[in-house]
Symmetry: C2
Subunit: 418 residues, 2 copies
Amino acid sequence: MLTNIKINEDRLWNSLNEMALIGATDKGGVNRQALTDLDKESRDLFIKWCKEENLTITIDQMGNIFARREGKNNNLPPIMSGSHLDTQPTGGRYDGALGVLSALEVVRTLNEFNYSTEAPIEIVMWTNEEGCRFPPAMTGSAVFSGLHDLSSALAIQDQEGVKLGSELERIKYNGSVACKSRPIAGFIEIHIEQGPILEMENKNIGVVTGAQAQKWYEVNITGMEAHAGPTPMEIRKDALVASSEVVLLVNSIGNNFQPGGCATCGVLEIVNPSRNVIPGNCFLTIDFRHPDDDKLKKMDEILRKTIKLIEKDKKVKIEIKQILELKSNSFNKSIINTIKDVTHKLKFTNKEIISGAGHDAVNINSIAPTAMIFIPCIDGISHNEIEDIHKEDAIRGAEVLLHSVVELANNSSKIINN
Amino acid sequence: MLTNIKINEDRLWNSLNEMALIGATDKGGVNRQALTDLDKESRDLFIKWCKEENLTITIDQMGNIFARREGKNNNLPPIMSGSHLDTQPTGGRYDGALGVLSALEVVRTLNEFNYSTEAPIEIVMWTNEEGCRFPPAMTGSAVFSGLHDLSSALAIQDQEGVKLGSELERIKYNGSVACKSRPIAGFIEIHIEQGPILEMENKNIGVVTGAQAQKWYEVNITGMEAHAGPTPMEIRKDALVASSEVVLLVNSIGNNFQPGGCATCGVLEIVNPSRNVIPGNCFLTIDFRHPDDDKLKKMDEILRKTIKLIEKDKKVKIEIKQILELKSNSFNKSIINTIKDVTHKLKFTNKEIISGAGHDAVNINSIAPTAMIFIPCIDGISHNEIEDIHKEDAIRGAEVLLHSVVELANNSSKIINN
């Protein structure tokens, strides 16, 4: 490890603060949704900073931006690092921006110290990671990885019927380079944890070993609406009582699949609710996650089997539809080990962690050796304007990224596919 | 009993059908909310029909309409019968209208047979029974009974801020007669059951012995919003899981207070729901009913005690606020016995029943001897455009009303206060 090279703490922090001004909200967060004028402004600033570092900019058909710093041997595939600059409507300052600007800080530091790596380095900004305006999420990296078709991605519409492709054109980020996979020696994304584990366990760095498998469901429960006064308990077909049984079932499945299982009902809606009417129809959603695909399959089986019992017991009809399935992801062991090694050498505490949320890195992992670095976020809060981090955590994360990228770029031939 | 007098089946049925045209909906129901132009139209039609029967019309300050048929001794206080003509937005054809038009049919029949009762008879149409446009419900009868202040009732606003009093003026039903209690020998209201018991038990007539006590609550549950992916089960403060425990608690309290107890959560709302966010805040309503005030008090105690346990167990804050309390009501035994006696003589099956819903009769019961007659409604459905009844049930109900009213009007001095 290059012990004489260090990132510039204030330069990193100031860049994060400057980027957070674009779309800044009154509550201290950021509303910078994909392909809006504010997204364009953040892209322009990012490119300006990259050009100041003499990087070569490439923009592909999905608006993904690559900023390349040549190495000693430019026939080698690059080491790539980055994340996204778009945010949720009530987003925070660091979700995404931390990953892009930490990668920029790595390059700025190497330029400052006039240090050349063997392989080239590329900073990347992926288009439409959040997917709140143009669902689904992580579209830019999905098309790049061949997991999503380019033309259907460009045809995605927002709630007003505006197409992703036409917004890319409007903000002039419809690049000409094909959006498709090419040789990448390794990809590292640094991101806030978006959960409370590192903070609770007082760890500096999360070494992300993979991402959870996910299954999402929609559930419709049909009972019979009736007047809450004159309808005896024993003949009711109360859709909300049945829904509540489902919510508690989901919660107990999560609790019974520890360690690692997560189970959440995020939405529950009564159709035409009224204080003195027994609910006749309810809609709810289920989000199941587990690092182990087999365990998730088992969670699914228990859910479906027990719902049948609730259906019979509560005299309602329950329809369950799986609407999303993501297999679990294991990141690249060589890169994980490099990150862990650097963390030890820097004398930072670390913990192996599984990502609960989706990230662009999960898509890139399907085409190139990939891993992630997490830093703690305060109270585990994200997708919220009060999302926050400690400056020293951002600095530690960027240091780990710097030395990991240099190590990998100088030894890219040693990265072994899992 | 006057065996030679019978109501005119088709006249009753045709009047119900004609009234149902005012505010008729595509699905076969009625939307004729209080003090709208349609309400005025139904009042005008009712008064036209009353005038054809030579009745004397009085309109009071709340727009309650009284149509009087003199008796042999007009110093006696009247026997009164009626209900309301306003409906829910998705109301049915018979909820309310049946009570007004059955009372009209009683008078039409007596006129047709040229039969004079001892005491006078009054048909009444109470203003704003439903309370959906101008909450709370049953305002006209409440002001008449001294249970609600006139000026505050006139000041009730709808969702657009329009006052009940100014709408009364606009439709020209702001009468000059004081809206206040006066001597009434007895009050009978006929109404659809709004529940399934008579139909299930195959009974023609419900002899209503009283109304349930009620307690309504609003509950706010505060946990902590967090990302459904990276937040471990054991540290969650899931407001929806806690809400589901409350829903099942409410349901089990209802089941444990049989016979007679009813317990319903009609509304449950998650604040800012999202599929992959653990719900942080929920709102729900509870509707508790029991014929016995002491049992209802016990239900309340168990609710509050158990909610404390849920609060602790689920690591959330639960605030519960009682927003309504109605004591139980016992109707007048003399009138109940008269109805029962008439039903037997007409060879109709009957069942003593407690009203689960509120009715104008419950208010009038506080100032005059009162009881109610229920007829079955199909599948127990009301407050729904598909609300329906069988013609023969309407006819049986009107027959029972006719002979009960005549019996009471001829023997009003024998009505004993409970």
